[in-house]
């Protein structure tokens, strides 16, 4: 049987009957649903042919329910909340619910409904299948190795590429500095060895030097000890300096990498995550990783060797006493383990609360104007307090465990030394042969040194958990799918600016379709006004043209080439983008204008400012082009910022100009200045303008009216006025409003 196109594998229970069906009919594709009609998780399926469809559900497993398209008037994939129904309306107007599915199958469901409606409208043609195929292809983009969903069929699975091993990923950051780390390690092996000598020497002193009352030997031994100590601590100081530098280098390279990655993440990533969280990851989670890398590459190894070294020396000195001093070890290890188990999950929780707090901060501190305006300081304070209290609650749990744990450990260690005093002391009291006071003294010192590494490894799980949580956060960014530049290096000589939308559907999340069935052609040099009420999808349309989102259904062509296949960097460079609320960076006016072209000549920048009607006001500023703007351009008025952002667009000399309500937030005098600037800029470029004030659109030769995610009217302004549709209505309302305003102004004047 040929493989039938479907969103997921055909359920086993329908397989046989589908085979039978496909033997006699041409089955084009199938939509498999994951809910039954009574909304329990289950399986059902609709198969689509050229002139009919077949429904498989719990009532029709063997023999599908057959429906001819000619008996139907409409098909719909009705999206509801968390689920959708595929419905058809028959010619008598009766609705039939065929199958139900969660959002997992909502995309294919939409495509299938579009298919049926197209067949009903225009009759069946092969072309219609391609649209469905395109939609399904995206869903079938799974990594063959790990089964993870990929953004497109051609992209590489980041998980499998990185072997999925967290450790090797972070170790890669330490690799460039391995020589430094190795030197540190050797130095610490030296200091460890040096630290093992003094207990032996003190034992020697107690047994040999002191009883024999040999003064010169005493001085010599003490001198030796002094030398060892000096050497040990000099090397320790040098090592810790070296280690710190190396660690800094590692963490900085990690930070840089995360920041770089964050720059290339798609808009859809930022739609779903708070920027505070990202800032937190870059700032503090990297520190945890640094600590961990140093711990594992240095201390862990050193402690391990210390452990072995002491053990060997102790056994050589006296194996019986060694056994006694090891008695508390199993208890210590067990307690360490249970500690890790109870503390680990709490770290994840702490982390979430940290993220809440920093999210709140990044929300409210920049929003301080609004808070003051609405006098919601108290509410903000209370919310912050509540978040802090939540954090405290989690922290309290960890704090108590973390404090009790070391105390218990130290207590056990002390008990260990008591055991040695007890057993070793009784050996001496009973006068056992070969057992001296000196031996006991060095043994007690060794035993106390022995518990250090034990303690370290017992506590290690704590550090490890903490790090694991941070590592997970970091990987959330490092492993996120970046924006895909499928058409890298496909750089056309010139962008003419012909834009074509073909059956484009788009939704931010699957719960609501934002754009549906967009078909639109814009010729080079067109000035297109995009009109519609707020929330109608105008800005989303622009977002797609900017290529901020990749996962739309259907296709967008630029100069006849698929948008996804054009080099993304090149393409965006060709676009001049002026926003409603222009973003200014904390830099000079000059640098803000030359933002996209840092190597621009001074006079180019002046010219751009002049074209944008910004030169005049910049000249009047005391610091001129050197004026330093505050965060978000504090110090400039809205209209001034807007003109700077237009100058920025002029600098790029774009082939494609996008103006997103550029004059919405300014007074009418400034508007005319901006309008003038825009008209100079438009000259000879394909331009898309979103505008609420229709007066801004007087240069437009084409108007697109968007409503509820669909294009409802499209044509020249005159055509649309003659049509007396939505555009006509909007113009009427606005001109009426303007007349009223005028009359009012006249009255006031009189």
């Amino acid at each position: 049987m040929p493989d039938i196109l479907s969103n997921v594998m055909c359920p086993v229970s329908f397989k046989k009957s589908l085979d039978n069906l496909a033997a006699d009919n041409r089955v084009l594709f199938a939509v498999v649903g994951d809910l039954d009609l009574s909304r329990r998780y289950g399986e059902n399926m609709v198969c689509f042919g050229e002139d009919r469809l077949w429904v498989f559900n719990s009532a029709h497993t063997d023999e599908p329910l057959e429906m001819k398209y000619s008996d139907l008037s409409e098909a719909e994939s009705k999206r509801m909340y968390g689920n959708a129904v595929f419905m058809v309306t028959d010619n008598s107007g009766k609705r039939h619910k065929l199958i139900r599915y969660t959002y997992a199958a909502a995309g294919p469901g939409d495509a299938a409904a579009d298919f049926v409606n197209d067949v009903l409208e225009k009759g069946f043609s092969e072309e219609l299948i391609y649209a469905v195929e395109n939609n399904f292809k995206r869903l079938r983009a799974f990594c063959p190795k790990c089964g993870r969903k990929l953004p497109s069929p051609d992209s590489e699975c980041l998980n499998c590429k990185g072997k999925g091993k967290m450790f090797s990923k972070f170790a890669a950051y330490a690799m460039p500095y391995k020589s430094g780390l190795i030197v540190c390690l050797l130095l610490s092996v030296f200091t460890t060895a040096a630290s093992l000598a003094p207990p032996y020497i003190t034992g020697y002193m107690v047994d040999k030097v002191l009883p024999e009352k040999n003064a010169s030997l005493l001085y010599k031994t003490i001198l030796l000890l002094l030398l060892i100590y000096i050497l040990q601590y000099v090397v320790t100081a040098f090592r810790s300096y070296l280690l710190r530098r190396t660690g800094d280098k590692i963490v900085i390279s990690l930070k840089k990498d995360i920041y770089e990655k964050a720059q290339y993440l798609p808009m859809s990533f930022y739609d779903k995550i708070s920027t505070g969280h990202v800032i937190n990851i870059i700032n503090s989670d990297t520190g945890n990783i640094q600590n961990f890398v140093l711990k594992i590459s240095q201390e862990a190894i050193v402690q391990f060797f210390t452990l072995i070294g002491i053990l060997v020396i102790m056994i050589i000195l006296n194996w019986k006493l060694t056994l006694f001093s090891l008695l508390p070890i199993p208890v210590v290890a067990m307690i360490g383990r249970s500690f890790g188990k109870s503390v680990g999950p709490r770290y994840l929780r702490i982390l979430r609360r940290n993220a809440y707090i920093s999210g709140l901060l990044t929300d409210t501190i920049p929003g301080i104007r609004i808070i003051k305006a609405f006098t919601t300081e108290k509410a903000a304070i209370n919310k912050f307090a509540r978040y802090c209290d939540d954090w405290m609650k989690e922290e309290k749990g960890i704090a108590s465990i973390s404090s009790i744990f070391p105390a218990v450990m130290t207590f056990l260690v002390t008990c260990g030394s008591l055991i040695i005093w007890l057993s070793g002391g009784s050996f001496i009291v009973s006068g056992r042969e070969g057992f001296t006071v000196g031996l006991l003294v060095s043994f007690v010192s060794y035993a106390s040194m022995f518990y250090n590494p034990v303690n370290f490894f017992a506590n290690f799980s704590d550090t490890y958990r903490n790090t694991l949580a941070s590592a997970e956060n970091i990987l959330e960014i490092l492993d996120a799918e970046p924006e895909h530049n499928f058409g890298k290096d496909n750089v056309p000589k010139r962008l003419e600016g012909r834009i074509e939308f073909k059956n484009v559907n788009f939704s931010f999340d699957r719960s609501k379709k934002v754009l549906s069935n967009i078909n639109l052609t814009i010729e080079p040099g067109d000035v297109v006004g995009i009109v519609g009420t707020t929330g109608s999808g105008k800005s989303t349309l622009i977002n797609l043209i900017m290529r901020y989102y990749d996962d739309y259904d259907g296709e967008i062509f630029i100069d006849g080439q698929n948008l996804r296949d054009i080099d993304m960097e090149y393409y965006r460079q060709q676009i001049g983008y002026v926003q409603q609320e222009p973003m200014m960076f904390k830099d000079t006016i000059f640098n803000n204008i030359a933002y996209g072209a840092p190597s621009a000549h001074v006079e180019q920048v002046l010219r751009a400012a002049d074209i944008a009607n910004a030169h005049g006001f910049i000249c009047r500023l005391p610091d001129g082009y050197d004026t330093l703007l505050g965060e978000r351009g504090i110090g400039l008025s809205g209209g001034e910022k807007q003109r700077i952002s237009i100058a920025r667009a002029v600098m790029k000399n774009p082939s494609l100009l996008i103006l997103d309500e550029a004059t919405a937030a300014v007074d009418s005098e400034t508007e005319s200045l901006i309008q003038q600037a825009i008209e100079r800029l438009i000259n000879g470029r394909t331009t898309l303008m979103i505008a609420h004030r229709l007066s801004t659109l007087r240069k437009a030769n084409k108007i697109v009216v968007v409503d509820k995610g669909e294009i409802i009217e499209c044509g020249t302004p005159d055509e649309l006025l003659a049509k007396k549709g939505k555009y006509y209505k909007l113009v009427e309302i606005q001109s009426m409003g303007e007349q009223l305003q005028k009359r009012k102004a006249e009255e006031d004047f009189e």
């Binding site: 289950g42 929780r349 997970e472």
Partner: protein
């Protein structure tokens, strides 16, 4: 102007499961094929149910459907039940973290299923009353009515993520 209706002022009859018909007693107006929608699907329960016509325009808001007459109430509740699918998780069976993709297997009041969760900090939202809202990678929603009342094993699985 938003038109609010109190329970006794309106009669709701069934139409097609998802759709309902409404009749206003005072004005005598009748509407067909209205869709009831929760204005507060996450927090509101039975309060503030909007009635939308086929264009998506709002006809009226029912302040509290508990005040409706029993038959009307049943119709609205059924329609809402049809529209909103938020399975309630009663037990977690398994959580795996393979290649940093979290697959959770859970028992819900709509049956057992396995779903993918990405980035628990933004998609798993614990509320102060013990409720937990979960959104999976396909934007489907789930709810734990009170995580504190789950069995011990389920709690052990979910609590670190809260």
């Amino acid at each position: 102007m938003i038109r609010y209706v109190e329970g006794p002022e309106i009669r709701i009859t069934g139409n097609d499961g998802i759709f309902v018909n409404a009749e206003f007693y005072h004005s005598g107006e009748k509407f067909e094929e209205l869709e009831p929608r929760r204005l507060f699907p996450k927090s509101g329960g039975n309060k503030y149910i909007a009635l939308l016509d086929s264009e998506g325009e709002q006809i009226a808001i029912i302040r509290d459907i508990d005040d409706l007459m029993p038959e009307s109430r049943k119709v609205i509740e059924d329609a809402l039940e049809e529209y909103y699918l938020i399975p309630r998780i009663t037990r977690f069976i398994k959580m795996t973290d393979k290649f940093r993709v979290w697959m959770w297997t859970a028992e819900t009041d709509h049956g057992t299923l396995t779903f993918e969760v990405r980035n628990h900090i933004s998609t798993v939202k614990p509320l102060y009353d013990g409720r937990v809202l979960i959104k999976d990678a396909n934007d489907n929603r789930y709810e734990i009515p009170d995580y504190r009342k789950l069995d011990k094993r389920s709690r052990k699985l979910i609590e670190p993520k809260l």
